[in-house]
Symmetry: C2
Subunit: 306 residues, 2 copies
């Protein structure tokens, strides 16, 4: 199946935020973060992302500049009196655990996603990891989309399950990690959980397994791509958003939704996520050359070639 997308537009709705992060490798203060930032930069290597988000008056021009330098359309990023969403966290135990030290929603609390008229023709949509009620508002405005993918997390499964289920019924693809898949379905096997999720609405589900890779289920397919084996992880923040951005970006850029297209999308998401975790904030995925991307993709593909 191919869903042509002449202008390669991908609508990305999510958070644009400041992250203060401490890991065993160092720390950053108020660095660019948020699901929409990671996802749109990752997607920019494959398609033309249009971002909808909200920032405060403290948001620096140079941070909008980072997105724009990657060809991301930021006209949909609303600027509002107040402070930008700020998350502070600390990783420890060799990245196995993460403590959230502070979540200041700030202007994000009043986020009411409005899709600019000329964004509405986007045939590909990525609903970043935000409240299901906000994701639903986007769905109501992006009726022309043919492929809608969404991300979510344990917090929404625990606090907004009904709204989440309602969104799930209307999307084509769900990104979720393995623990969240078990939590959402009460299943204990990946196969069982995937089956249950496919019955909730999406045609496809991509289960992220962190350093072990990701598996796509749907349309009778099981596709697996391992994570890139890295010597050192610096900061895993945004890895999931980046994976989703690379994956859906490849779909939007190529229009290929058949088996080879989906396998390639898995590779693209995986490669992007591998770059993301090698540096703080969005640094690892900024300014990548086609050669660097291709080389990592080729190494990954070679690793699983029988």
């Amino acid at each position: 199946m191919k869903i042509p997308n002449a202008n390669k537009d991908l609508l990305v709705v999510g958070s644009v935020a400041y992250d203060s992060v401490e890991t065993p490798q160092g720390s950053v203060e108020k660095a660019l973060g948020g699901s929409a930032s990671f996802a749109s930069i990752a997607a920019s290597y494959y398609c033309h992302p249009l971002v909808v988000g909200i920032v405060g008056t403290d948001f620096e021009d140079r941070h909008i500049g980072i997105l724009e330098a990657h060809g991301v359309d930021t006209r949909g990023v609303e600027r509002k009196e107040g402070k930008t969403f700020h998350w502070r966290g600390r990783y420890h135990g060799n990245f196995k655990e993460r403590d959230t030290l502070e979540t200041a929603l700030n202007v994000f609390e009043s986020f009411d996603p409005r899709i600019p008229p000329d964004y509405r023709s986007a045939r590909y949509v990525l609903l970043g990891n935000i409240a299901p009620s906000l994701q639903m508002k986007v769905l109501d405005q992006a009726g022309d989309a043919e492929v809608v993918a969404m991300d979510t997390m344990n917090f929404w499964i625990e606090t907004a399950r009904d709204e989440l289920m309602a969104v799930l019924r209307r999307v084509d693809l769900l990104f979720i990690n393995d623990e969240e898949a078990f939590q959402l379905t009460d299943e204990r096997s990946l196969v069982g959980a995937a089956e249950r999720i496919l019955n909730m609405g999406p045609r496809y589900v991509v289960v992220k397994r962190g350093e072990y890779g990701a598996v796509l289920f749907g349309s009778g397919l099981q596709l697996f791509v391992p994570a890139v084996l890295l010597r050192a992880v610096v900061d895993p923040t945004g890895a999931g958003d980046t994976f989703a951005g690379g994956f859906v970006g490849r779909l939007a850029g190529s229009g290929e939704l058949d088996r080879p297209g989906l396998a390639e999308a898995l590779l693209c998401g995986t490669v992007m996520a591998s770059f993301a975790v090698e540096a703080f904030s969005v640094e690892g995925i900024c300014g990548l050359t086609p050669e660097a991307i291709d080389s990592r993709r080729a190494g990954l593909e070679r690793m699983i070639r029988i």
Copy 2:
């Protein structure tokens, strides 16, 4: 590279034991177990295993019969006055944890592996997960072997590191799980740990990651095969031994040690391990049809085909 092996002999040295196991799925009492049992049955689908081990006078003929029904040569299994090695364990926490309740070495305590003269011409050898000092005794008798693979575990890393290092210098391939690889090398990344291990002697190291699959490193290669996605695990006992048996069995049966041969060996080890964990004791890998094996292999290969 091809190392011809006309008679497809594979010498397997390890424990032949009785296991009493309790898992969330049920329990068994004094069922056939031990590294040599799992490995030789798994290998039997690809080559001709010759087993060296020791059992007590309580060991039942029907258990030797299980090995022989799979074409395993058991003349090297010594029978000695006393009781057979008995292990009792319990799995819990969705198989994440295992308690050893009893380890009665019994006759295994005096195991002094003697390789029968007509076993000594085996060009392929698998040193099962036993004390490095015993593995060394086998090496001293199996000088004609061209490919020697070994398995090990955390217990030997902690209690017999020097002997283990001496054995490592003389083998071609090491099977080890990820945590043990980190423990052995003081590295935190798989790539770093593999590099260190390759500097210790082996040409190849296969890092087992349980439900996530296995990675082979060596000769400039990185090869990855994910685990088969199963609906339910019944008993993981012996999964590592089975993996090693399937892997080395494929090498011994085909003589193919080039890239495609090694990739195929990873598939064979993975497929065998997937059958093993679906039942207690060796039941899951007994009497498998070529069709059942091929079908599972094909599904696995399809899952990673780009």
